[in-house]
């Protein structure tokens, strides 16, 4: 399980950076999304994966008595997903507006004029 996650993280980071280096604005956006997902899985992996042990205290006990899955990484990932959802929604709208203005998907066509 860990090995698969490590490979997925590597692929997501690599693909994300590759996509960000392309000239197309849509690919830039996809790159950012992939990177964000890679970071989320990284947190999940580094929070130690414990299978089948939910962090729920059993009836009658007041503390954990055995191993349990750490809930904190999942809370972090959930927060990060919500944030990246909002930010990416904004980024999509921004790219759409820019596309409508300059009528091109190529980042090289972005050229802030000297005169404003």
């Amino acid at each position: 399980m860990e090995l698969i996650l490590v490979l997925i993280i590597g692929v997501l980071y690599g693909a994300g950076i590759y996509m960000m280096l392309r000239r197309s604005m849509v690919k830039l956006l996809i790159g950012i999304m992939l990177l964000g997902n890679g970071a989320n899985i990284l947190i999940f992996l580094l929070g130690r994966i414990t299978k089948g042990k939910p962090p729920v205290i059993p009836d009658g006990a007041s503390v954990f008595t055995e191993m349990y899955a750490d809930p904190v990484p999942q809370a972090l990932i959930l927060t990060a997903i919500v944030i990246s959802f909002g930010v990416q929604a904004f980024a999509i709208v921004l790219l759409k507006r820019v596309y409508a203005l300059i009528d091109s998907d190529d980042l090289d066509d972005l050229n802030t004029p000297e005169d404003i």
Partner: protein, 502 residues
């Protein structure tokens, strides 16, 4: 000391922003509420500063979850000073925005977003939890994304793409660093991290994590070679927005760097050398960039980059004197950079352009206003005894003490080029005659009412007085910086305040 009122500077901005949302199209009401809200926060944050100054570090455990399990808010002298300065700058920008931000932008939510931005800044300064810091950074950048695109003109949107992309990348790198740090230590509380990072055996991974933090915060605070987004986006929004960005947004990156590198990671020899190298290159590239620009706001953008170098240099040298210099420069920089962009806003209102070629004759037409602007510009350059001079003196001495002569040369060169750039600007804008091929659309500054003139100039004068105080009352600021650096170098009181007596 437990004190739940330290959350007030965050909550007051939140409520002001929500209240503003109820007056969506009512421009006048929004302006009044925003200024009043900022006054209220200024009052609260000055009280917070006095409390922390007199009684030491205050903490708040959110939801009464004891540290290190819950989110802790910490107000030490450094963070409460930053909150106080943010409130001063926030008030000045809010007053300037009453006239400086036009009706259409106000109707599309300028003021609520401005308050959300300030809320994020206060949160970032007050938090004692590294993941919470990430969340506040996201609050800051999402507000700034909307502010930078507000109005939707072509250059704004084009600048925004660069700004948004690089900031999102910085956030991902920051998040990665947090993930690795959590994997290494199993905690997110900064005081707890400070104890646990020191115990980690795998020093290589700790160093890599600290570099990831440096890259993440470095993009946000615009250091070499990560600054390219700044000069290509900061000149596009209206001056009031550029002022809050230039004065506060890059500085929160510097604040985070200072915090992380003193509390969590103590930089080793290699990291210090890297920080000094980065600082030298930032100083030089920023200064040369400012040299070749003909647009005042682009020039100021490069000066922001250049002067970030001073603070990074202070952190890199990591001696008591150099950190005092860095902290002092940070305080000076917040006030003076905001003021600079407000000045460029007034010049734009008077002349309808910010191009050096098309400007001129300002001293002839507005001698009194020019005098105020001269004080701002000289503070920026650091003419003694104005505010920029003292921190540079500290940094200069510290660089001599560790015999880092390249850094000494870079500090002198950057100061000299700043002087040259500002002198050139003074000559072109104020002394030169107004060129014949004048600008097309001139807003008649004389013709607008005295009341509006007052609202535009009052914030500049207010911030100039603060700058003058920082310069002439330097002894007070130095003793403040000394106390902050004392807390930075000896983190035991901070850890005890957060985790309880041990």
């Amino acid at each position: 000391m437990m004190d739940n009122t330290i959350v007030a500077p965050i909550v007051e901005h939140l409520f002001t922003a929500i209240l503003l949302l109820f007056f969506w199209k009512k421009v006048k009401t929004q302006r009044i509420i925003s200024v009043l809200g900022n006054l209220m926060v200024l009052n609260t944050s000055s009280q917070l500063f006095m409390k922390v100054w007199n009684n030491g570090i205050h903490t708040m455990q959110a939801g009464n979850w004891q540290a290190p399990f819950g989110i802790t808010l910490v107000a030490d002298v450094f963070s409460s000073t930053m909150v106080f300065l943010t409130s001063i700058v926030g008030l000045a920008i809010a007053v300037f925005s009453v006239v400086g931000i036009g009706k259409p932008r106000t109707q599309y939510g300028y003021f609520p977003l401005f308050h959300f931005l300030l809320m994020g800044l206060n949160g970032a300064f007050l938090t004692g939890d590294i993941f919470n810091l990430y969340v506040w950074f996201e609050v800051i950048i999402i507000s700034s994304f909307v502010l930078i695109t507000l109005g939707g003109r072509k250059p704004q949107l084009e600048g925004a793409i660069k700004y948004v992309t690089l900031n999102l990348l910085a956030s991902v790198i920051f998040l990665t660093a947090i993930g690795i740090l959590y994997g290494l230590t199993g905690t997110l509380n900064m005081a707890d991290l400070s104890l646990k990072v020191a115990l980690v055996q795998n020093r290589g991974l700790v160093n890599i994590t600290s570099f990831l933090f440096f890259v993440g915060f470095g993009i946000k605070s615009a250091v070499f070679p990560l600054y390219f987004w700044l000069p290509s986006s900061y000149h596009t929004p209206p001056s009031a927005i550029a002022a809050s960005f230039g004065g506060l947004l890059t500085k929160v990156g510097v604040y985070a760097l200072l915090r992380v590198y003193t509390l969590i990671f103590v930089p080793d020899e290699f990291t210090r050398n890297m920080l000094i190298t980065v600082a030298v290159l930032t100083l030089i590239t920023g200064a040369f960039g400012a040299l070749i620009k003909d647009d005042i706001r682009r020039m100021f953008s490069y000066l922001i980059v250049c002067h970030i170098g001073f603070m990074i240099a202070g952190l890199g040298m990591y001696t008591k004197a150099s950190l005092i210099g860095a902290v002092f420069y940070l305080f000076h920089d917040i006030i003076v950079k905001t003021n600079m962009f407000l000045v460029s806003g007034i010049i734009y209102k008077i002349k309808g352009t910010v191009h050096l070629d098309k400007l001129g004759g300002l001293y002839d037409e507005y001698p009194k206003l020019s005098l105020v602007m001269a004080l701002v510009l000289f503070s920026l350059v650091g003419v003694p005894p104005l505010s920029g001079f003292w921190p540079k003196l500290y940094l200069f001495n510290a660089a001599f003490d560790i015999s880092s002569y390249v850094l000494v040369a870079a500090i002198i060169l950057a100061s000299f080029i700043t002087l040259f750039v500002i002198a050139r600007m003074w000559g072109e804008v104020f002394w030169k005659d107004q060129p014949e091929t004048g600008p097309g659309r001139v807003m008649q500054f004389d013709k607008i009412s005295i009341y509006k003139q007052f609202l535009l100039t009052a914030p500049v004068i207010f911030l100039t007085f603060i700058s003058l105080y920082i310069g002439f009352g330097a002894a007070n600021i130095i003793s403040l910086s000394e106390r902050i650096v004392g807390e930075m170098l000896d983190v035991t009181p901070y850890i005890q305040a957060v985790l309880g007596k041990q």
